[in-house]
Symmetry: C2
Subunit: 147 residues, 2 copies
DNA sequence: AGTGAAACAGTGCTGGC
DNA sequence: GCCAGCACTGTTTCACT
């Protein structure tokens, strides 16, 4: 994967504003619109850009509770855990990690009652540790050029 | 905040494809383009849609290591921790949470050496617990209508 | 790889319901 | 709150470098 400085500038701009028009993008990187478009297509095809997404505010959408649930899933229960728990709409992130707590879930709920239900559900598969999120200070920081 | 079914469909579609044109969006929700555009503008103005972002693959961008670092920050060190650590480009997510480990960081690094350096850095502010991420099974699941 | 011009598609505005 | 028509802007293709 060799990306030049121009590719990185394009990635930077599109991570900040995924709806920027290619003509605007072209202006910012001092290139013609077709050349810029072709670079973006190439980045998409290489899999560097995997998609574009609108970023929404869960608070305003009726999900004021955010929590991190760590689950020490018993190995025998792992398949069922993956099928049933990771499919829940409340589960925003799910990472399989090293260490005693082998799963880390970021969940969003409309109420504490809903969170309680989810944690109770998770308890079937192993011990859980739940932390409520006070505030998120960094969220999905754009990946930037190492140079 | 009262959103009707149409608003939710628009949110759903834009979370999946943030670059979808308003004409295409209009087709999908069976509305005229101007009406659809106006609804999107309204969602943006209400703060429901906070932005749009290109989603990139950190692996392909030279960041193969992903880890969750829990930090039990001593209260006296908190201001410096916030200023110095949360500003690092490696820190993708940073949440202030309840429980013993009061901060949860998701970091991405180009090498274990870099991760080691970051964790050493974090140790200045309190005890840390680091878990390497094997795999992310859910990432930024779109928020969907409760109904 | 990048450019410039022309055809085409999408956007934004205005007026009307 | 939605639609139709029009001017404007952005996108795509193609011949050329």
């Amino acid at each position: 994967m060799d990306l030049d400085e121009l590719d990185w500038r394009i990635l930077d701009l599109l991570q900040q504003d995924g709806r920027m028009t290619f003509t605007e993008l072209a202006r910012r990187v001092n290139l013609s619109a077709p050349a810029t478009t072709e670079r973006v297509r190439r980045l998409e095809q290489l899999g560097v850009i995997t998609g574009y997404a609108a970023v929404v505010d869960p608070q305003l959408l009726g999900l004021p509770i955010q929590a991190i649930v760590r689950v020490r899933v018993r190995s025998l229960d792992s398949p069922r855990f993956r099928e049933r728990l990771l499919a829940l709409p409340s589960v925003c992130d799910a990472d399989h990690v090293t260490g005693d707590d082998c799963w880390l879930l970021r969940v969003r709920c409309k109420s504490m009652a809903e969170l309680e239900q989810l944690v109770d559900n998770a308890q079937q598969y192993g011990e859980t540790t739940t932390s409520l999120v006070f505030s998120s200070h960094v969220r999905n920081r754009p990946v930037s050029s190492p140079g």
